[in-house]
Symmetry: C2
Subunit: 423 residues, 2 copies
């Protein structure tokens, strides 16, 4: 397998350009970046690996804008419950027993699923972030990682800067700062996280206005909506990635758009927990940047942006009684280009961009019939996985459906889950 610095040529693949299918394209990869893309492009070194792209569609990497990856270990552990009993009877007691080793295997398990569905980069907030960082590097994915900060756990904010220093110059791991939410962090904590983020030029990852009751009780005690409050203390900017944003007033929507905040919309999680349907129509009208996240596998229960794209599009159409809204191309942008801007990633299928991409097998029923102008529709509405090759930073993580070591990881994750339950 090629590693950073090695060269590689994907030959005769198809790509999407301007929403249309473009066939017989070569993609040369060198030094972890796309060296050239187009018909007839060659591997300049002449001795790189050649990947046969015939019958395959190359897509740029999808970005999972909000998750808690280690919680993949809790997949299916507790479903179909009201939010508070779910948290207090199931999730929190399990998290209280959580070890670094659990996080390590939960992370690796989550990486497997993302590699299989074309996610090359994810944005995480959780505990034991050094373990998550190491496991992610071993799997070869790119990640924005933030140790979650709560007032209840005052030690955590102390750990943020050391974590940032440890990972600041890594090629795959980008440290971020993760104040949990306005109802779990004081103003002092929020401002401190903002200060750290500005000092090191990092993203701020926060949960924002996820549930109605959370927003109502915050308003009752503070007289402001969570968004208004964050704006009033100067927290909001284009370095903020705000997960959920389900319950927003028209004023909140304007603030988010004006401040350049990136919204990480989590359609499946919001539906499964019955949190509500985010006003993506108003956010989009106001010009806000919308990205897509899976949230944790404990409330999804998948880590798959193909599912997320389809659910987002159809749920928004239905909520606004407008089948013409949220067309496939717009939703595809949320999983790709919008996220590249939000996360400041030099990504996309073009020369010079980092080589984070996947190949999808087009010889599947869900891609048939194929026309020049229906490829984005197929990606959003009918693709059922089928990603067979995933490359991050020029390194092949999965080839023809095979991820080296997958079965060992599945077995270890299973053991770790059994051990956690027995603890």
């Amino acid at each position: 397998m090629a590693v950073d610095g090695e060269t590689m040529l994907i030959k005769d693949a198809s790509i999407v350009e301007g929403g249309r299918l473009c066939r017989d394209v070569n993609i040369a990869i060198d030094g972890g970046r796309i060296a050239g893309i187009g018909p007839g492009i060659k591997d300049e070194s002449g001795d790189g690996e050649v990947i046969d792209g015939r019958g395959k569609l190359a897509i740029p990497g999808l970005v999972n804008a909000h998750t808690h990856l280690a919680m993949t270990l809790f997949r299916g552990y507790a479903d179909d419950m009201e939010l508070m009993p779910w948290l207090s009877e199931k999730i929190w007691p399990l998290e209280a027993k959580l070890t670094a080793e659990d996080v390590r295997w939960g992370t690796k398990l989550g990486c497997l699923e993302m590699i299989r569905s074309g996610i090359t980069c994810y944005n995480d907030m959780y505990y034991f972030m050094d373990e998550t960082a190491e496991a992610t590097k071993e799997m070869g994915l790119r990640a924005f990682l933030a140790e979650v900060v709560f007032d209840m756990r005052p030690d955590q904010i102390e750990g943020v800067e050391p974590f940032v220093r440890r990972w600041k110059n890594d090629d795959l791991i980008v440290p971020a700062v993760g104040p949990h939410a306005v109802y779990t962090c004081s103003e002092e904590t929020l401002l401190k996280t903002k200060e750290i983020a500005e000092e090191h030029d990092l993203l701020l990852h926060i949960h924002l206005s996820e549930t109605r009751s959370e927003v109502e009780s915050f308003e009752k005690s503070s007289g402001k909506s969570p968004v208004e409050y964050l704006d009033s203390i100067g927290f909001l900017s284009d370095r903020v990635v705000a997960a959920h944003c389900t319950w927003l007033s028209p004023k909140d929507v304007s603030i988010i758009a004006e401040r350049g905040v990136s919204v990480a919309h989590c359609s499946i999680s919001n539906h499964k927990l019955a949190s509500g349907i985010a006003p993506l129509d108003r956010l989009q009208e106001a010009g806000a940047r919308i990205c897509l996240g899976t949230d944790g596998a404990s409330s999804n229960n998948s880590l798959n942006l193909f599912q997320e794209m389809k659910t987002t599009a159809i749920a928004q159409k239905c909520a606004h009684s407008r089948p013409d809204l949220f067309a496939a191309g717009e939703v595809w942008r949320m999983a790709t280009e919008n996220a590249y801007i939000a996360f400041r990633l030099d990504m996309g299928l073009r020369a010079g961009a980092i080589a984070d991409l996947s190949l999808i097998d087009l010889k599947k029923p869900w891609f048939c019939p194929l026309a020049d102008d229906n490829i984005v529709s197929h990606l959003v509405y009918s693709a059922q996985g089928g990603v067979d090759t995933t490359i991050v930073g020029g390194r092949v993580l999965m080839r023809d459906g095979v991820i080296p070591g997958e079965v060992v990881i599945l077995d270890r994750a299973q053991e770790q889950f059994n051990d956690l339950l027995a603890r």
Copy 2:
């Protein structure tokens, strides 16, 4: 490959029993039926084919309770449009040019996708039903087929009885009677279809209360809701499979439950066309039988009941602000047991039942971690296809992910679509 009458033994598979994972089970198949199931069950003939079930989950066949399979040829042809322009500018002009050959390849294409997602039986209403029947038989699936009946096309009702006589004794094809809807069929037509269905003891397949405007305009002209009207003419009974049922009054819900009508709920299609969210909570409370359908691939754009189960569960939770409603087990039942009752199918993983089942590879990230009590959650919320073997009536249609002849069908369907567009 085994055919009807041959024997087969699936060894050491897992199954779901009472919602729990049950390991090391053998399933003996003989004469198209399950001859025995349990630990230590043997192939009595001693010379049947043996399928290694280790690491696999056997599930009974899923039933797609409402589709228009030949429309798989229109997948991605027109999306993101308002309903009327979608129909009048895109779908109807294409259908006006439709030939039996289009239907043949659209049907085969649709069968491929269903075989890959564990659907062993589907309920269809469309044109050129003899072609659909033949193509379905060649693919080996089970189907309930009804030539659609409209008043606009008076020849069609004349064709119903001949079609019924041609297919009445087939082992895979079950003829049904398909009056399109209350707004396209006169009372005379509806009563005639009912009479034919009763005479031959067949199911009646009809679209019912799909969109708000359809229900409102029907009420305006007739003074009754479509459900009240059908009940007033004596149309409703447990032989009726009513697709959609999105817009129902409380009285409609009671009538549907009392008459034993089976509802074919199409969550993804209803969302994508922005038709609305069906009141499954009230239907369920009233004791109505709910099954799941994909509708046609022109409005879905998939034919996958795993997607349908997840979307149904999470959309209903969100619509009723109750994450505890529509638990995985209930939704699983809609795709299986409820449908077996609705379609009078002697199905399920038990001795004597018809051998319609699939094997799913459990060694995938989305089934990890696996516990005895989370298997149904995984099937509903996290399974991403992964069906690798599908058996109908004891005949293996897909083995280890391979459907013989698949690529030829994909190529032919593509050619047929190109030809249709050029016509």
